[in-house]
Subunit: 290 residues, 2 copies
């Protein structure tokens, strides 16, 4: 029986409550797995990682390059922007099970901001698209708009849009598997963009329609997303107007932003979030090895 | 042993997850009790009411005038505005334990809105302040601005402000029992009022500051409340600018709105939420008896 190829390191992303793991041999992916994980400390992160990788039969104390760990657990001080998109170094934390190499996040003073995971997706995109200048939009629980120039993250702005959609949408029946109501999304988007200050009022109106059972779930969900993304586009206008744009995110969320931007005459390149995360982790590891 | 006075009806308000009960004899309050209640149907409401009133030793099938029941359980069709502030009629629902008289809510088409409980607090305020014209602000999980003229609710506008403060504030240490950081509240309020479209971005900045542990809990909570109430005041400007104003709400929330309005040169009368609720329920009952 031929011996299976043996992983010599793991690439790991922890973001938005979701753990993604790639078993790597050099730059080749041998295997991967992912899952939701309830994690609130470095210890519980190690537990979740051990449990998720049990089937991969990786040796103990394998090097693990990990993106997205909250600064409060990891002691990996976030790097202040502007700075190189690809982290030049990692913070080593040895545990019984794994030798962690923690990729630090990014910190901005004004407006106050913190990236914990998104920065590595950005690094991945730039490692695959050399000399790309423009603005990258990263939808997620917290959406991020990052201005990129000469391989550096110059500035960024975050919005709680995704989390608000999840919290406020959870009240109604979840229409996740049904098609989006495009018309309702487009109308709410246009309305949210032109009168963003009415956001909290619109959310209350949506709530009323739901309480009265007068709006189908998918329509309500589309209006909720359109309203919140519209308000975000209004506030982030300086980031996308007249810029070269890329959207990196999970397919469902990214497609909403692509649609919204296209309607404003601002077409964007779309890139897959997981693929960018892996490329970013690999780029950081390569940089360290150099 | 003298016989205790016997209640001949109950006044009940269910609002924001909180059940308030007054045991009444005519217009006199014999006793009262209140508590948080997890209620999601008419049956569970009856259970919660039975449990809360067990100590009051009220007879079975007592008449109960109740405000705040969601339309989906009660079949009490909300009344369309504009309409009399004091509901002229109730919807009778007989159960094994109580004879309910359900006070209907208010419905507005454009912008879509629904009041389920706030309308009775408004009715109470107007029953105590005859011929009062102006705008009543009712802070709560959903805050409401209602325009009152000649005893009618002409129009209203709701905002999810209170619920967003609760959801987003729950992340940090709860500073409920500590004093508000006035300076942080005032700054965030002013900022929220002047640039309401930046709301989702400001919430993300607050999140970043908390994640970095760089902001004390009370300061973060004050900034959160100031930001959201500022954005609400911006959107509700037509409701408060140059108007006679009253604020009806729980003390903690009402005092934030009083402070915010005073800073805009718009002083308001403050009235206690529970007292107005009871007065409103009594007014509806009196109207029915006439």
């Amino acid at each position: 029986m031929a011996e299976a190829a043996q992983a010599d390191w793991l690439a790991v992303e922890w973001l938005d409550g979701h753990l993604s793991v790639w078993a790597m041999q050099g730059s080749a992916v041998l295997d991967s797995c992912e899952g939701a994980a309830s994690v609130d400390s470095l210890e519980s992160f190690i537990d979740a990682l051990s449990s998720l990788t049990a089937d991969l039969q990786v040796p103990r104390r394998l090097p693990v390059f990990v993106a997205g760990l909250p600064v409060t657990w990891s002691e990996a001080t976030p790097r202040p922007v502007p700075c190189d998109a690809i982290a030049p170094d990692t913070v080593a934390v040895k545990t019984e099970s794994f030798d962690l190499q923690i990729i630090p996040g990014l910190r901005q003073r004004e407006p106050s901001g913190l990236l914990q995971g998104a920065e590595t997706r950005i690094a991945g995109f730039l490692s695959l698209n050399k000399d790309w200048d423009g603005v990258i939009c990263l939808p997620g629980a917290t959406s991020v708009w990052a201005q990129i120039s000469a391989g550096e993250v110059v500035s960024f702005q975050s919005f709680l849009t995704g989390e608000l959609i999840a919290i406020l949408g959870a009240e109604g029946p979840a229409p996740k598997d049904t098609a989006l109501d495009d018309t309702a999304f487009d109308e709410a988007l246009s309305d949210g963009l032109s009168r963003p200050e009415r956001l909290a009022g619109r959310l209350a109106s949506l709530r009323a329609d739901r309480a009265l059972g007068e709006m189908p779930g998918p329509t309500a969900q589309a209006r909720l997303a359109g309203t919140l993304i519209g308000a975000e586009l209004a506030a982030a206008r300086a980031y996308w107007l007249g810029q070269t744009l890329a959207v990196i995110g999970p397919e469902a969320e990214a497609s909403l932003y692509m649609r919204a931007l296209a309607q404003q005459g601002a077409p964007a390149t779309q890139a897959d979030a997981k693929r960018m995360a892996l490329a970013g982790i690999c780029a950081v590891r390569r940089g360290k090895a150099d």
